[in-house]
Each structure stands twice: as C-alpha cells, then as structure tokens.
Amino acid sequence: MNDVLVIGAGLSGLVAAWQAVENGRSVRVVAKGWGITHWHAGCIDVLGYYPLDNPEPVVALETAVSRLATEHPQHPYALIRLDNLQTAIEAFKALCATANYPLHGSLTRNWLLPSALGTFRPTCLAPATMIAGDLTDNTPMLIVGFSRWLDFAPALVADNLTHQGIQATHVTLDLPSLRQRKIVTALTIANLMETPAFRAELVNALKPYLSKAGRIGFPAVLGYTQATAVHQTLQKELGRPVFEIPTLPPSIPGMRLHHILLHTIRQKGGMVLEGLEATAATTQNGRITGLYTSAATRHRLHHAHHFILATGGILGGGITTNYTGEITETIFNLPLSTPVNRQSWFRRDFLDPQGHPIYQTGVRVNQQLQPLNENGQPIYENLQAIGTILANWEPIRERSLEGVALATGFIAGRGKTVTSHKTQTTSTSN
C-alpha cells in the first residue's frame, strides 16, 4: 500500500507527488490525462493583477499577496502561509536548476514579459529562455515567426509592443525545412530546433534582419528537452540575447516543466499512471480507504494511507455541471461553495475583469487543506485538496493559478502538519 495516492497530474498533483517522493513517502499518481502544463505559458504566475479591477500589473509581489490574503480570508493564499509559498518557489527553482532548465524570479518583483499578442505578461518565475524579453528594458527587439505556422503572429506582437513604447520589428521566415512538411506544430519546430542543421538554416535566414535588433524574440519552441542548450547556442550564433514568447497551446515550455516533474517522480520511485479516470471512493470511519479508477472496461481499486485530490476545477474536470444547474465534485461528492443559481453564473462580458462567479466554485478547505463540511469540520481526516479545485478565487483573472498549485501541492506532498495558528498573512476577523 502506498503512503500517498494523488488524483490528477496537473501542476498541483505532480508537485505534490514530487514533494512526497522527496520526503520519502511512496506515491502513486492516477490521472485521466495531463493538466494545465500542456496549456499554460510555462511560467509560474503567482499574482499578476490585484485588485482585479486594477489594470496595472502587480509589481511588488510579496506585498500584494499579503494584502490579498488579508482582504480575502477565504482565498487559498490566506490559508497557506506566505513562507510556504516562498519555500515552494525556492524548491521548485532548485529542481529546475538541477534539471538544467533554470527558472528566474522571486516574490520580490514580477517580471513583465511579452505575450504572443504583444501584451505585457506579469509573472513570478520564468525560464532562462524567456527572461531576455524583460519589458522594463528598452533594448530594441526583433520578433521572429514562421510562415507555415499560424500559432504565433510576429507582426501582432511587434506592433503592440511598439505601440506601448518598446521598439520592436518583426520578420516571418519561410524556411524550406518547414515548407516541405505537411503539418507544422509547436512540437515539430521544437524538435527540429534540437538539430544543428535546422538551427543553421534558421540563423542563416535571420542574418539579413539582425542589424538594429539588440535581442531576438521567438515563439516558445526553442527545443523541448534540450531547450537550455538550444537557447544558448542560438544566443551565441546570433550574437545577441534570445528569448521565447509563450503562445497558443500545446505549450512547449509547460511540457518541459511537466517532463522535469514526471522524470523526477519516476526516478525517485513514484508511479504515475495516466489514462485512469478516478470514479469513486470507499470510506470508513471518516477516512478514505480506497479509490476506484476505470480505464476502458477495467475497474481497479487503489489503497493508500493518504489521498490528495488534484483534479482541477471546472477547467480540469474535477468539478462538473449540468443543464439543471447542478454542480458536482466528481469523485467524493464533496460539498462545494458555489453561487446561488444558474442566472448568476456569468457576467455580461467575456473579458470582465472580475471574472464569472461560477468559476469561484470549489472545495472549501482548512489550513491543512482538508475539505470541510458545512459546519467547517474536515470530512475525511486523510484527504487533502489542492490546486484549482479549491474554492473562492479567480486563478485566471488574478494570474495566480501556478502559484496556488505550487504552494498547495508542495504543502500536501510534504505531508508535515501545517501549523494551525493564524499567521500575519491571514486576517483574524471575518
């Protein structure tokens, strides 16, 4: 029997599993599929906008997170201590550095990096492959795209940056190696980037455009498992700083983080099983005793001492809804905190800065991340919930998804009891 069974292999689930193996616990992860790592920007966003109606990005992160925790005592950041977030970030940086894919940044200050629309993306941790895109720096940039691939629009990036005061030009390369392919995806280019021949073709094609550019921006496809080497070689060959810009999914930089986590968990004896959908649990005396999964026609029962629920919210599939307005946590049928009725699920505008109330739906937990019943008592003593399944926050509007996933995954995986006294970041009055 395993010490820990993690349900879900998104960022929070994999972080929990990694921390569990690091702390000598035996782990099994069961997951229907992969999670946010294949979609996101490949950065750790901790808090990008706060308060939500403030269009200016957060700069001083630590202060903003503390303020948020004070002002929103139900927010996941209010439940975990700031120093846990800090420790999680440092540990994750160390992990990636060891894997030769260093991340840069800290809680002191957000980066502002270009998006694939040429907007300024605030983020806490960014891979070394991205940070030369720093928008507080004025060095003129050249944005490079590929004519066979529409998932990155260099003119849009450059023109929006220029509009906002960053000198940027753009070029779209029509490379023979891409032209002869029937289908070009992010992964196609990332894999080609790891071959010297393709890089030579790229560098040669780029040479005529380099003159004024002090740095060169590419879509985030500069290699998959060899990204650091590809990045460094390109910098050398182009004689200028090079940076990646995250673009439409599938996310290559996200897949790199996924790869690092998965590799580490497996190397340390953890087991990650994908293609298994968790369907139900067995319980006894306030404890979870087993978890059923199904794959094709086969059902399986997994036992463990401890269970970690990391199935994601509405986006991840851990919470489902139906036409009658019912909202359900899919495995344990945990009580959910949710807006009252279907008419109040949404606001008028898609991009409303406050977000849509339905997405605040989630599992309410205590500081130990244990799901709570209506009376505020833990439902199962050996169950924790982490990541986007948690209630009362708007990860997408705040740009806090990875920060919460990392911190809560870290705490749950480590398994040490979290001190229950209130900290300076949580409000005592409610």
Binding site: I36, W39, H40, A41, D45, P55, P57, S115, A116, L117, G118, T119, F120, R121, L150, D151, F152, A153, A155, L156, D159, N160, T162, H163, Q164, R181, K182, I183, V184, P246, T247, L248, P249, S251, I314, L315, G317, T320, T321, N322, Y323, G325, V340, N341, R342, Q343, S344, W345, F346, R348, D349, F350, L351, P353, I358, Y359, I396, R397, R399, L401
Partner: protein
C-alpha cells in the same frame, strides 16, 4: 457628404432585401442595397435553417403552405449548393393528438404539399435516435438551408447585374420632399461618416425593423417583433428535419444544420427587434421538447443558442404572435398613405424570400411605369467557392471542405480545425471579401463555429487580419476582442457541462497565456456584437 444617385434603393440586407436588390438589378434597374451591419445581421442570420415544405402550415395557414411548396421547388433548382436535401418528417409523439395526423394528411393534399406516411419501423431505420414511442410518421420535402451562404450568393448575383451592396450603412434619416420620399441618409459605421443616397424609389425591406424605417418617413407601420430562441446541440442527432405533427408551437422542430442539430423555437412578443434576452425557461423548454423527439437530447453537449425576431405585420392588435399570418405583406404607401416613392415589404419566411422579392420588384416596375418580367426563378445563382461548382452540397458542408483539403493536401494549413477553414479561404475572405470584422469572416467561411467556438482560430485569424489589413494594431486588437465577445454572446445561455469546461479553457488561453484583457486600445468597437439583454434574475 458622400452622395449616391440611383434608381432604386433597398433597405435591409436580409434574405428579402438582398432578393429584391437582385431581382431589380436583373431587370435592369440601377440598384443600391444598404444594410446597417453585415448581410444577414437580422433575422435571416438567426433563423432555424429550414427550407419549409409547407407542412408546418398546411392546417393553420394553407396560403402560406402553398407559397412554401412553390418556392421550395424553385429554390432547389436555383440554389442547390445552399441547401441540403435532408427531407423532413412529421411525427406523432405520445404528447401529441393522435388524430392530428389524418387532418395533416388531408391538408397536405389540399395545399399541394407532397406527403407520404411511412412506418415507424422505417422511420427508426432512417433515424435511429428518434423516440421509439412515436406512433406515426409522415415524410415531406423539407430541407436544410444555409442562409449565410444563400444571401451571399444572391448578393453576388445582384453585384454581377451591377447592383451596389453597401454594408455597415445604417439608414438614420429618410429624405422626404412633400409627398415623396427621395432618398435616405446613412451612417457609414466603418468610416464613421454620413452618406446620402438619392433614389427614384425606396424599398423598405428591413424585416422586423420595417416599422422603424416607416416611422422615419412619418408613417405608422406596425410590425410586431416575435422573438424565437434556438439551441444547437454539438451533435447531428438526426439527418432529417423532424417536426412534431401538431399545431405549430414551441420547440417542435429539430433541423440538422451542417455538423449540428438545432432545436427551435419559442415565440415571445418583444418590444424592440434589437434588444431582448434569451431567457432560461426558453432554453429549458427547448431541451425538454428536444428530449421528447430524441430521448437523451438534454444531456448532450449544447454548442450555442441564439434568437431572431419574426417580422409579423399587423393592422390590428393580436395577442399570440403565432396567430398572425406568416404570409408576407407588401405595403404601397402611395395608395395606403399618400406618400410616393416608398414601399414596404415585410413578414413572410426565409423560404418565400424570392417570391416576396418578385412581387416587390413587380410593384417597383409598375410605379416606375415600365414592364420588365421577373427571371429569378429561372436563373441559377452563382457559386462562391470552387467546391460549390462540383457538388450539390457545397463549400459550407464539412464533407466538401474535407474533400478540398484532402485533394490539396492542405490539412497543415487550417486556421479553424473544427470547421476546416483553411488559410487560403480565410485570406481570400480578408483580401477580396467585404469582411470588416472577424465575425464577417465567420459568416463567410464558418470560422469559429465548431465546438471550441473560436478558442484557437480567433488568435490565428487576428494575426492574418493584421498582416493583410496593415491597419493600426489597435484595430486588430479590438477586432479580436469583439469576436471573443461575439462568440461569448451565444455561448452564455448554454454553458454547463463540457461546453463550460471548453469555455474556461478559452478563457485560460486568452487571459492567462495571451493577456488579451490588457490589449491596448478600445475594449469594444461600434462594429462589435449587439449583446442579448441580461435576464432579470428572479429565482
């Protein structure tokens, strides 16, 4: 002020107005058509998608039934590439009066609508998902029709005969000289300037807006907007149009339209043709009624909902909008009100638009004192896409696009994977078309109309638009934001289950990854979508 001079000016770029402009141009009149947004912005772009056999009206409105079957035959001849010959069933479910079937059969005979009763076993062989408790089934020649494509084809035909089509030109004033209407003043929404158009004759073909236009002339024309809500399921659950065999009521037809199946409609009187809500009970009712025809329907993933307004003309007040005749109305304001140079055509159905155009053009000839025969029933409409020339079910049908893509090996060049819109057709729409917004491109090439509702293609098409248009980047930015909002508009009423999950993913892409909510420039443009009203929350 920019000024145009023409013989006939037609107001309204729906099926009717476009049809009138085509007919007139074909008869040799110098014609201008103005539409305040894109073609099919009105009811024509928000209808159910059914080429009526007339079956629906045989009992209640025999005149309308006869008009429908006549036009049904003609449209099959002149625009086969805009239709899909699905055939239609009228079925008696356990909720319907079992005796209605006999009345239905008799009425079909009386009105000339071909009808044949088939066995329930045969019906289930053809449509296995239909409710096995259905007791009778009648086959009629209904079909599915693509009004976006059809209207584009008619407009193209009008252009080929020399007509000028001005979209994003909203009539804001009518110029009147004594007893005569001599032209209109339009607001050009794209250039944000006023344009005057002088004409010998003005045809008001503005559908549910006809009363508003007449009002600008100082005339009282009462057009009662009757709102109808439709919901598209993400699955083509039937290949045949399926009607309930009963007096027309809410949610009694499912139409297979391209890759989806559409259930409709409701019928609610609204105050204004542009401002109304899609209400929750309407969605719930559609799901419930859909479930009666196809058990399990309400559990399926719903793609989108929309609503259109029926232009129902009335001289007196009537309570239930469905009791007003659906046959169309031609108002000669010279004889009715003593105002010359102005006629109104309104009411009717999409199915009868050509006939409505014909009688309108006949009246214009009469007014202008010339005799020129109608030929629209004889001449096939032009094809807009290469594939339309080869197959009856043309470009707008997924199968035809797939064939195109496979023969050109262009599967690596898709802008929209859901609807198989290739880079070539999207670029063609941007370069040569009249598209001003991403939504116009959508109507032209079906971009963003599949399950992900623009999740991936919105970014890609914005990139292409920016590349080809060479306009200031803030215009591309607002085009992207307008389109995201436009897709949201129709998603919002049906967001639950898998579609809600999908929408959250689209949010994640556009906010977390692309930070589109912080793009520089305007948040919405005047070309952006007109949102449905918010429903009053009274739970």
């Amino acid at each position: 002020m920019r000024t145009y001079q023409t013989e006939v000016l037609v107001i309204g770029g729906g099926a009717t107005g476009t049809g009138v402009a085509y007919d007139l141009a074909q008869r040799g009149f110098k014609t201008i058509l103005v539409e305040k947004r894109d073609l099919t912005h009105g009811t024509t772009g928000r209808y159910h998608g059914l080429l009526h056999s007339g079956g629906r009206y045989v009992v209640k409105d025999p005149k309308a039934a006869t008009e429908c079957i006549e036009e049904n035959r003609i449209l099959r001849r002149i625009m086969p590439h805009c239709l899909e010959d699905t055939g239609g069933f009228f079925v008696t479910t356990p909720w319907d009066d079992p005796d209605f079937g006999d009345r239905f059969m008799e009425a079909c005979q009386a009105t000339g609508v071909p009808c044949e009763e088939i066995s329930v076993a045969q019906m289930l062989r053809e449509e296995p998902l239909l409710n096995p408790k259905i007791s009778r089934c009648f086959r009629v020649p209904d079909a599915a029709a693509d009004s976006f494509l059809a209207t584009q084809c008619v407009a193209e035909a009008a252009r080929q005969y020399g007509a000028e089509v001005l979209i994003y030109h909203e009539v804001i004033r009518v110029i009147r000289e004594g007893d005569r209407v001599i032209g209109v003043v339009c607001h050009d929404l794209v250039k944000d300037e006023e344009v005057s158009i002088l004409a010998d004759m003005v045809v008001n073909a503005s559908g549910a807006w006809a009363g508003k236009i007449a009002h600008m002339v100082g005339l009282e024309v009462s057009v009662m907007p009757g709102k109808g809500v439709m919901v598209a399921a993400n699955h083509r659950v039937v290949n045949t149009v399926v009607n309930r065999c009963k007096m027309p009521s809410d949610g009694d037809i499912i139409v297979p339209v391209h890759t989806v199946a559409v259930i409709g409609t409701t019928d609610q009187r609204v105050a204004d043709p542009e401002h109304f809500a899609i209400e929750r009970w309407e969605i719930d009712l559609m799901l419930e009624e859909g479930d009666k025809l196809v058990p399990g329907f309400r559990q399926m993933r719903m793609l989108r909902a929309w609503a259109g307004v029926r232009p129902l003309y009335q001289e007196t007040k009537v309570a239930d909008t469905r009791d007003v005749t659906r046959a169309y109305t031609l108002l000669d304001h010279e004889t009715r009100d003593g105002v010359m140079g102005f006629i109104t055509i309104t009411g009717g159905k999409w199915t009868t638009f050509r006939q409505m155009a014909q009688v309108t053009a006949d009246r214009v000839c009469e007014k202008l004192g010339v005799e020129r025969p109608c030929r629209t029933h004889e001449e096939p409409l032009p094809a807009l896409f290469e594939s339309d020339r080869h197959t009856a079910n043309g470009y707008h049908y997924l199968g035809a696009r797939l064939t195109d893509i496979e023969s050109h090996k262009s599967y690596g060049d898709l802008v929209c994977e859901c609807e198989l819109a290739t880079r070539a057709v999207v670029e063609q729409a941007i370069r040569d078309g009249n598209a001003h917004t991403l939504d116009d491109i959508r109507r032209d090439v079906r971009l963003g109309m599949g399950p992900c509702q623009g999740g991936f293609c919105t970014y890609r098409v914005t990139g292409l638009l920016h590349l080809w248009r060479q306009t200031p980047v803030t215009e591309s930015n607002v085009a992207l934001r307008d389109f995201l909002q436009e897709r949201w508009k129709g998603l919002k009423p049906v967001l639950w289950g898998a579609q809600l999950k999908q929408e959250r993913l689209d949010e994640f892409i556009y906010l977390s990854v692309l930070n589109a909510d912080h793009l520089p420039g305007e948040k919405a443009s005047r070309l952006g979508p007109v949102m449905y009203e918010e429903e009053v929350n009274n739970e």
